[in-house]
């Protein structure tokens, strides 16, 4: 392997990794590879709420994937594209000395690897892995990142034992205090990706975009005038607004420059499909188009909010998800959990298959992607935050060697996986929350 561009000093890299990690010569050390000739590399996270029935997930021995456990059965045909990773931990999901609130913490800590400040009003967390990546590579695409959530309604108030709902509803955090709320309405996602516009002609589009930019410019100006007269706290509030205005302005500027309109290949959706499976498919179909058209390269998909109470009548489960997961080892309840877990895995498989079936350069979209599927809880009953169920799908641009089950030392932070992905995306910062290094053995080459 040859490093063509000198961007990272190998020794600098080693210092951050600790001795435990063997260091292959990663081609991601050179961002020149990040956009490989066969297509851009993308990262996505699918979060499953309320843990997993681990009886039917765990694979006892490391090595090549042979027969899959029941929950993963729907992914059988994609086995060669999966890395099942065992023994990863989300330490900051644990109670430590604080106490209950495991669901709020589980989602909040998962992507940030950070302590979750117990409060309903004063949010304090960390920056999530996807946002760390998006802040570095996001500028190359129309949207730095995309946040999708498959659960619509927000519940009022304190969500989990003194933890703000923001923790249980948002897996993606742009700053330690600002969550990135996921889009859950199909129509809203469509408009975020493809615009809400109904331009009548290319000329109309050009002059309307120019107007939009003038308007945003005037907003930036007046905000600065107002800010000057405000107290420090209110000034910060308006800062946040200013940042968002700037970002939208950049999007408009990019759209003006590109002059390209993406064909979404589907009608503008309306409402939320009644069946979860249809909902999942509709939303991930849009994610697929977003990846394919390179609208974004970073995405999070919250299959349900942590503590989700969704019933799944279409697979015969009319009880709420969360109470079932307090199964107390009752086999009837455990079987229901397995049924839900298997259903989710099947839907996830559908998305992966679509990526795999789409050729890109000399390989396919899945080969160019890194898709994490997992949860911040293993057992939802006792709220365990270690031995997390984790899958990494895709080859990250022919870099990972899937088709295997890898067992790490216990207590290995799950953020080490995310740090590895970040590195693969060409991100310079070495740490993601509590990560202690990068994961070895993902690649055998």
């Amino acid at each position: 392997m040859i490093i063509t561009k000198k961007t990272l000093n190998r020794r600098t890299l080693l210092r951050g990794l600790g001795a435990a990690v063997a260091l292959p010569m990663l081609d991601a050390m050179s961002p020149a590879f990040a956009a490989s000739p066969s297509g851009p590399i993308r990262a996505a996270w699918f979060y499953v709420p309320n843990g997993i029935d681990m009886r039917n997930w765990v694979i006892p021995e490391p090595g090549p994937l042979t027969s899959l456990p029941p929950i993963l059965k729907p992914l059988e045909s994609l086995k060669s594209e999966l890395l099942v990773l065992s023994n990863l931990t989300a330490n900051w999901g644990r109670p430590h000395l604080v106490g209950a609130g495991d669901h709020g913490r589980a989602l909040a800590a998962y992507m940030t690897g950070s302590f979750v400040h117990q409060s309903v009003s004063n949010l304090k967390l960390g920056i999530s892995a996807d946002q760390i990546i998006a802040s570095e590579v996001g500028r190359q695409t129309a949207l730095p990142s995309l946040e999708i959530g498959l659960e619509e309604t927000r519940q009022a108030g304190n969500c989990d034992n003194g933890y703000s709902c923001a923790y249980a509803y948002n897996m993606s955090w742009r700053t330690p205090t600002q969550p990135m709320p996921p889009v859950s309405a199909p129509r809203a996602l469509f408009e975020r990706l493809f615009g809400a516009d109904n331009f009548t002609s290319p000329e109309d589009r050009a002059r309307r975009l120019a107007m939009r930019r003038s308007i945003l410019d005037s907003v930036l100006e007046s905000t600065q005038t107002i800010q000057a007269s405000l107290g420090p706290v209110d000034r910060r509030k308006l800062d946040e607004y200013l940042t968002s205005v700037r970002e939208v302005e950049q999007q408009v500027a990019r759209a003006e420059k590109d002059g390209v309109v993406i064909d979404p290949g589907m009608e503008k959706p309306f409402g939320v499909p009644a069946e979860f499976g249809d909902y999942f498919k509709l939303m991930t179909d849009m994610l697929f188009v977003a990846f394919k058209a390179d609208v974004t390269r970073v995405a999070t998909v919250m299959i349900g909010r942590e503590g989700s109470n969704r019933p799944y009548p279409e697979i015969g489960i009319s009880d709420s998800h969360h109470p079932i997961t307090h199964h107390q080892k009752n086999p009837v309840l455990l079987d229901k959990i397995t049924a839900i877990n298997t259903y989710h895995a099947k839907l996830f498989g559908g998305f992966l298959q679509k990526l795999k079936d789409t050729p890109e350069g000399d390989s396919n979209m899945l080969a160019n992607s890194m898709i994490v599927y997992g949860s911040g809880l293993s057992d939802g009953d006792t709220h365990l935050h270690d031995e997390l169920p984790t899958i990494l799908a895709g080859r990250g641009g022919n870099f990972f060697t899937p088709g295997r089950h890898v067992m790490y030392q216990r207590e290995t932070p799950v953020t080490n996986l995310f740090a590895t992905m970040a590195q693969r995306m060409g991100v310079r910062s070495e740490h993601i929350g509590d990560s202690t290094g990068r994961l070895a053995e993902l690649s055998l080459s």
Partner: protein
């Protein structure tokens, strides 16, 4: 006694802060005699056999305590008062203080707290610059521009804390939201003026698989339209056989409103003779529709069509034995958009007070100046208007028509921080009254969730709002205005959590009658009930006891109440043995149930938390939740939950929570009255920790009425939080006490609460810059 002591041990560990020991403060001041005379004897006689240095039950030792700890250990003392007041402590079986003594201890302690709070310099706190939330945004647009939008279709949900989504801290602006604001502003401006040319009309088909068959003769579909325009809605009717061969008429409804009724031929035609059932006819109506979501329903008129659709015949079954296909509306198509036949929309003529085509920039200025004043809710500077006029100028230069240019100016106005944020200035001193302009906005967003109207804004601009009687008169006027329904929608919907009802999904197998319409009805019942209590200035005790509610025919049928007809809600008296007050509203009863069964724990928690404002602390870490779901019957549920009360760890909270919840067992998971669940009769009784027992929901209601002061304090705190848009602090307590004592003296009338909030210190004032300087100075002093 040992058992009694241990029973409460863990509960106190939870209730007290980490350093919960009541240790005297360093500098002890002389013990005031009332404390020694009143409080100490009771604590020594009735409490310290458990709460002493040796046993320290619940981590609480009352040894060595004196009056100085009233301030230094305030939280712990308040817990002690709460426990004494509710009769939870001393526990059942332990020696009790005589009632008089208990009362005097409680009174003394509460007075001491109040005196301590009032001895501090008054502080009105500070409300953050607040972004309009979704409801406020939509209402403000409605009132300023005369355009109605469905905010939940346009904007993402706002985060909420402290139970409300109008709290400054979490009203953040993400890039996603900003993008939405830009799009929504474009849409709103275009709806208001309607200057953009419509695209070429097209046909959209809604085939059979995309529509919903409601019954034998009704079919519905929904769609989101991008333009406000005329559309041609066409219904395709399949088959030709009417019931009894009689002629049939078809009614088209848009958004539930009948638009047109048409005759449908029931004569067999050629298609029918060739292929049975394939005969179709179509029927159309041209309607004006606003951009946004709409529902379209085609229904054949007549009771014989209001029957469920029979299931499709089993495969391989005898096809000829099948019933002949009755005529039914099968699918839709829609053509449009066409220019509205009705001419210019009302908002356009109201906004365009001059013709921008001939009036040029001066006309744009004339249009935008009053609009910006209303939208920014204050007098505007000419520089601010210049900015909007300049945008219109740019649009004209880019070749847009003059009325389109005005549209762009409106767009620009709707993304300005002055529109999106409610901003107040910090006064110079420690604290000062907010300006009349700021007060007008506080008032209108509190009562209307919207901008001040012309009358209120003019009064504020003339600094007349605080003239004698003016504010009072405005509150009366504003409460009487239909717009004050916003309090029922936004305040009550969140306080009582009924907004979450849309997300509740009862088990479709056990409760096939549950649907969105029923959920809407249940929500409407609670909303109308709240609204009537407020409008009619009823005592707030009626929340707990009212012997009437609001029902329409569908909801009355759901409750099993006879004699209510029609789709409109009416005030209906209820049988007090079965229903009364909000705790018998199906909305709340459904919210506090699991999909397939009731949960006494959730319902009990709801009463403690939402109604009485003393939420039980979270369950301790590492204690598994009791598996309610194992219980297959109410009797076994009761048995399972009895574990809660025999286990010392759980008992401290569940001994109150569970009995309260069992008191509502006569209501099933979707709020219907029941006397048995399956074959097991319902036992709706319980014993509260203070030893009082009850056997029916009516008795439970009567007991809760004794907690009216607690209920009122809770309602006051919730409404004050909502009115201020910030969390309450210790310095707000005197204001809360003033309001509740006023309520007490005014028969707990609901409007008294609103008026007292409006005139309260935190609502009328704002913390100034000097308070910050002093606070910084104090910190510097302390650290030296």
């Amino acid at each position: 006694m040992r058992f009694l002591c241990s029973l409460v041990l863990l509960s106190f560990l939870l209730l007290l802060p980490a350093r919960g020991q009541l240790a005297p403060a360093k500098k002890a001041t002389p013990v005031p005699s009332p404390f020694t005379a009143t409080v100490k004897p009771v604590l020594q006689t009735n409490c310290s056999m458990c709460h002493n240095a040796k046993l320290a039950s619940g981590g609480l030792s009352l040894d060595n305590l004196d009056a100085t700890t009233l301030e230094t250990q305030r939280i712990a003392w308040e817990r002690i008062v709460a426990k004494l007041k509710s009769g939870e402590m001393p526990p059942k079986g332990a020696p009790q203080p005589v009632p008089d003594k208990r009362t005097s201890v409680v009174e003394f302690l509460e007075k001491s707290f109040d005196a301590a709070d009032r001895s501090r310099p008054p502080d009105a706190g500070r409300v953050l610059a607040r972004r309009l939330n979704r409801a406020e945004y939509a209402n403000t647009i409605r009132d300023v521009l005369g355009v109605r939008i469905k905010a939940e279709e346009e904007l993402p949900a706002d985060d909420s804390i402290l139970g409300f989504d109008n709290i400054g801290e979490v009203l953040t602006v993400s890039p996603l939201l900003m993008q939405k604001y830009v799009y929504t502003a474009e849409k709103v401006a275009s709806l208001a003026i309607g200057a953009d040319p419509l695209p070429k009309p097209a046909v959209v088909e809604y085939k059979a698989e995309k529509v919903r068959r409601l019954d034998l003769g009704a079919t519905e579909h929904t769609d989101h339209l991008d333009y406000s325009a005329d559309y041609l809605v066409r219904v395709w009717v399949r088959g030709h056989l009417g019931p009894n061969g009689a002629p049939v008429s078809l009614r088209l409804l848009v958004d539930g409103q009948p638009v047109r009724t048409m005759d449908v031929p029931t004569k067999e035609n050629e298609t029918a003779t060739v292929a049975r059932d394939a005969q179709r006819s179509h029927h159309e109506a041209r309607v004006y529709l606003e951009a946004g979501p709409h529902s379209f329903r085609a229904e054949l008129v007549g009771d014989e069509f209001r029957k469920p659709v029979p299931p499709p015949p089993a495969p391989g079954g005898n096809q000829s034995a099948q019933q002949p296909l009755l005529i039914y509306p099968e699918k839709f198509d829609m053509q449009g958009p066409f220019p509205p036949a009705g001419g210019a929309r009302a908002s356009r003529s109201r906004i365009l007070t001059c013709d921008p085509a001939t009036g040029g920039p001066a006309c744009v200025r004339q249009i935008m100046t009053p609009l910006a004043r209303r939208a920014y809710r204050r007098p505007v500077t000419s520089a601010e208007v210049d900015k909007l006029v300049a945008i219109a100028g740019k649009a004209t230069a880019a070749g847009f028509k003059p009325d389109q240019a005005v549209q762009f100016a409106i767009q620009a106005m709707l993304v300005q921080p002055a529109f999106l944020f409610r901003i107040e200035r910090d006064p110079k001193g420690r604290m000062a009254p907010i300006s009349d302009i700021e007060l007008a906005s506080r008032l209108s967003y509190f009562l209307w969730s919207s901008a001040p109207d012309e009358e209120l804004l003019s009064l504020a601009e003339g600094n007349k709002l605080r003239k004698p009687g003016v504010l009072e008169g405005q509150v009366t006027r504003m409460l009487a205005d239909p717009k004050s329904i916003a309090l029922a929608e936004n305040f009550a919907g969140q306080w009582l959590e009924t907004r979450s009802l849309a997300a509740v999904k009862p088990d479709p197998v056990r409760f096939p009658m549950w649907n969105a319409a029923l959920a809407d009805d249940l929500q409407a019942e609670t909303k109308l009930f709240f609204d009537s209590l407020l409008r009619e200035n009823k005592p707030v005790s009626e929340f707990l006891t009212a012997d009437y509610t609001f029902l329409n025919a569908r909801l009355a049928r759901h409750y099993g109440i006879k004699g209510v007809t029609g789709p409109d809600f009416q005030r209906i008296p209820v049988d007090p043995a079965q229903r009364g007050g909000i705790l018998s509203h199906g909305s709340i009863l459904t919210l506090t149930s699991y999909p397939a069964r009731t949960s006494p724990v959730l319902r009990g928690k709801y009463i403690m938390d939402v109604i009485l404002g003393s939420p039980p602390p979270p369950p301790p870490a590492d204690v598994p939740a009791l598996d309610e779901s194992k219980a297959t019957s109410p009797a076994s549920l009761r048995e399972a939950l009895s574990l809660h009360r025999s286990d010392a760890v759980c008992a401290s909270c569940h001994s109150k929570m569970d009995p309260l919840g069992f008191g509502l067992e006569n209501y099933d998971p979707i709020g219907r009255w029941r006397i048995a669940d399956g074959k097991t009769p319902i036992e709706a009784g319980g014993t509260l920790p203070n030893g009082v027992t009850f056997t029916t929901p009516a008795e439970l209601r009567a007991l809760l009425l004794k907690d009216l002061p607690e209920f009122t304090r809770n309602l006051t705190e919730k409404m004050l939080t909502y009115a201020l848009g910030r969390g309450l602090e210790r310095f707000d307590r005197p204001a809360i006490r003033d309001i509740t004592s006023k309520m007490e003296k005014s028969e707990y009338r609901f409007q008294v609460l609103v008026r007292e909030i409006v005139t309260s210190l935190p609502f009328q004032n704002r913390r100034g810059q000097l308070a910050d300087t002093q606070a910084t100075a104090a910190i510097t002093r302390d650290t030296k």
